[in-house]
Symmetry: C2
């Protein structure tokens, strides 16, 4: 079958760095046209502006700057067509509320020194972490297609591919023989598999090849894992770019046979070149995807590197307790930043068991990081174990901050998703830090990471893996295993299941209800969690918008509604008592 | 003109408290029908479920529980019609992305023991703090009207009123003679004025009276200020409910004359009663609205009371420094919670000026609150004033936390919006606390609050008002007055203005650019701000979704783009160095 030579540039995601993004895209254009001899180059969604723009697009000056940046790139374009995704000013459009939006997510087709046309994204995701419909106007021409030489091509952007009757279907009906798809698809576990499955469905349903290009690189709480793919019209994977790294690919993609257009609108001609190429030798077998646990580790590393770079700090400090959370965090920090940029801190008090201190020392020695030890005074004021723990957690946090400050380092909070879900964490204590790398990793995931990163046990002290959690031991949930806790956390938080589904899956109803109740009651404490990377399908934060205070609790079907506990008595409102109103 | 007797119940906003909300609405129904003799009762938007539901509506069991709660209320209904806003299951609908939504915001009309019909909100606001389009499906019948006795009535919910061609217009065209409008309209400065102006426009444009009912009561970071209004067909204000308090009103509202319907769909009959009443005596003059500064104080008081109640704490502790921020916070806490629930803490170090300590003592004595004094050790480690300040701020935070914990109190952070905008605040230091009441009040607003709450200077020590801010004195912006700083903060943060507009308004271009640059650079620090109430049109947090890290900066029109500073050099990625991948 005749083919187009398509280049993919899997770029980093740099929000607002218009000059830098112009350079990166421009370099990819030069490479694709001059070295790779490509007919078409595709870059990720919003590669020119960066993806996570938020309310930055409400600044007219930013929208104008982005247009100038696009013109700069267009001027540099040659015979090859480049699909450059960027924001675009459009006529004001009213849609889901009383306000107009006048900026769209676009994909410009540039060649021969000019912007030849612009596709506007139709579907604007507004679920989980996505907020696109907040500021963007939807496109109004889902079936727009383009003539590139003899080939009719479609362009669809990210979410456009995830309905079964969206732009790809409209463009196929309009005669498209190949689909170019710029994406900004953030990482979570299992995402790569889902993308491939969906891209295959799009290809098979519409009988055309799909070129799917993603970012690689972190932005705020998100990691973009790359893994761009090319799938042929039969759903076969032709190529896969690196995961968690910048990459460039060039692939001869067999285009679908010409087909009659069902629509009245003819394709807009983008460029008269190229002639279609004859079918060449089959491409090499694409690399296997990374294993699930490996993707988590890569994401954590990428996120911590990004955080360190963007904050212009000299490294990170963390408390080494002898437990698994801090050990994983230290191992991660060394992988991400190198030993010079990681400071271990041991803060025992007179009650700290000697073996915990020994394990912290052993880990620091094995990793080769500096360990500062400071003994805290005994806390003699209290006989309440819970209050004692909280007080010591806060003193440790304060000591850690002073040490980190003196070296221009950030403090890493070592709490995991299980603790944060259940509220087994102390505000301003172990939850304090500039960054919380493990905030979206459950405890059982930490053991999987330990097994994956240290399969031979050369790094982690054996007792570190077997030692029970000190934060967990004093809570009402200490009767439950981490397997039980984490399964309920995942079902409730990540999948939004109700109690009946958990019972059907084998959970004890009373146990599940108690765990879920703890998760709900901890909503307020979670508001104090430091930033950290998303690695699951639903992290706390943007992905899950829950009220801080709600009186409703899940309960078994047909069972009684849990009663709402009465609040404390406050005195009558004293406002304006004795105040003369002006 | 003939009139309907309409009752309004300005209820509190209790999220998820279905049983409690049933009781509150049920009590209002009994009052309206039996005592007030009303024909129609209207309650606020989502009065049955609470407004800020977030992802709670993704739980099917919650949607089912809400339906059962509505049926309970319907069974209690008599001859009077009640407009009860709640969530409602609807057929799945696809709109702005690839996912379906199947829950709408509704307003049920109940009478005679039954749910007679349900209107579904059309416009789902998705800007500033509003996220309704995230989980809700839009209604598909904007022109639906209802026959209540001889009267044809329309129902439109909150955002439905804010377009000029929305449901009120469609319902007027369908013959509506009166409009019932349940609302969940959060407070910000000037909001009440905007609501009245818009409601008048709706009434005048459509030639019908509008009954606008709002919540009174806090929910998370929002305060709902009540102030429900009734406007006649000529735009005249007939009645206004209390602001910042629960209230009930009963008003004989003259309905518009019967008009022919332009639509083919006849009104659905809700109830055959009532006969229209003859015109009665004119209603009493509505009370004047609260003054702008007074509304801010009421909002701060309501929010702090709510926070204290929902957290089941015994009060709040705060550091008294002798400065205006902490003095205002203390005054506010006493108004909200009473003297028994407020602990002042003075934490001088050997360098603290004696007059600051004296002012803290004087304020505590005047307010009648307990003052704990603890002298901190001198910090001899450093000669760097900025680092010294940061270290002392953190030690104060740690000491304050220990004192608050021992009394089951929360710590109030006293930082204001100016500091938080400019990053003149220390993470884990003065920015540390469970709650930050002043986070949305600029410094100049604090002086206005001081003048309003303490007009005779009986509470605040004179030096407290004149003392320069210690956090501000060491920053690059200390050359600018608070008037300049706050004006730029308001223009940039609250109104999204660009630099050209600021210059046109009289600002020095270089000064404005420097201030704006500081605001942008402080985005990351703001992520550590404790929760606190919104009082302006755009608070930090939900209202303003900015990337944590962005390289774009506003610059004067035609001026050069500010350069992006290079990041630090990190070692090459070390990941997987020596790891055998499984």
């Amino acid at each position: 079958m005749p083919s187009l030579r398509v280049a993919l540039a899997q770029l980093p995601n740099r929000v607002g760095d218009l000059d830098g993004n112009v350079e990166r895209i421009g370099a990819a254009m030069a490479w694709a046209e001059e070295e790779a001899g490509a007919d078409v180059l595709v870059v990720p969604e919003l590669a020119l502006t960066g993806y996570g723009l938020g309310d930055l697009v409400l600044h007219d000056a930013f929208v104008e700057d982005a247009r100038e940046a696009l013109d700069t790139l267009a001027e540099r374009s040659g015979a090859m067509t480049t699909v450059i995704s960027t924001i675009d000013r459009v006529p004001p459009r009213r849609s889901w509320d009383s306000r107009d939006r006048s900026v769209a997510i676009g994909a410009a087709l540039v060649s021969g020194g000019q912007v030849r046309g612009m596709y506007h994204k139709i579907f604007l995701p507004l679920y989980d972490l996505f907020l696109e419909a907040r500021n963007f106007a939807p496109g109004d021409d889902p079936g727009r297609v383009w003539r590139i030489g003899e080939t009719v091509a479609g362009v669809a952007i990210c979410e456009d591919l995830w309905g079964s009757d969206g732009p790809p279907e409209a463009q196929a009906a309009a005669g498209a023989q190949i689909l170019f798809a710029p994406n900004a698809s953030p990482y979570h576990r299992g995402k790569a598999e889902g993308r491939l499955a969906n891209t295959r469905e799009v290809a098979l349903r519409n009988g055309l090849p799909v070129v799917y290009v993603n970012f690689s690189g972190a932005q705020d709480d998100l990691v973009f894992d790359g893994g761009s793919i090319v799938v042929d019209a039969g759903g076969r994977l032709l190529a896969r770019a690196k995961e968690f790294a910048e990459d460039r690919l060039v692939v001869d993609v067999p285009v679908a046979p010409p087909r009659p257009s069902a629509t009245v609108k003819p394709p807009r001609t983008v460029h008269t070149r190229p002639l279609l190429r004859e079918e060449g030798p089959p491409p090499p077998e694409p690399p296997l995807p990374l294993d699930d646990v490996a993707t988590v580790w890569h994401a954590l590393v990428a996120a911590l590197r990004y955080w360190t770079e963007r904050n212009r700090i000299d490294g990170v400090a963390l408390g080494l307790s002898g437990g698994v959370d801090s050990a994983i965090t230290a191992m991660l920090a060394v992988d991400a930043l190198g030993v010079e940029c990681v400071l271990g801190v041991s803060l025992p008090d007179p009650d700290t068991p000697a073996d915990e201190l020994a394990d912290a020392r052993a880990l620091a020695a094995t990793l080769g990081i500096e360990l500062v030890e400071e003994e805290l005074e005994a806390d003699t004021d209290t006989t309440d174990a819970w209050r004692h723990d909280r007080r010591m957690a806060r003193r440790r946090a304060a000591a850690l901050l002073e040490l980190a400050d003196a070296r221009n380092m950030h403090v890493l909070a070592t709490g995991n998703k299980t603790e944060i879900s259940l509220g087994e964490t102390t505000r301003f204590g172990d939850l304090l830090g500039h960054y919380a790398p493990l905030r979206d990793c459950t405890k059982t995931m930490l053991y999987e990471l330990a097994e994956w990163r240290d399969p031979d046990g050369r790094i982690l002290p054996p007792r570190t893996l077997s030692r029970p959690s000190t934060t967990h031991r004093l809570t009402p949930l200490d009767q439950f295993s981490y397997e039980t806790l984490d399964d309920v956390v995942q079902r409730y938080v990540e999948h939004g299941q109700d109690l009946d589904a958990m019972v059907a899956a084998g959970h004890d109803a009373a146990a599940a209800e108690e765990i879920v109740r703890r998760i709900d009651a901890s909503e307020v404490v979670r508001r104090y969690t430091p930033p950290g990377p998303k690695v699951t399908s639903r992290a706390f934060g943007h992905d899950r918008q829950m009220p801080i205070f709600s009186d409703w609790q899940p309960h078994p079907h047909g069972g009684p509604t849990p009663p709402v506990a009465p609040g404390p008595e406050l005195p009558e409102m004293l406002i304006l008592d004795g105040v003369e109103q002006p």
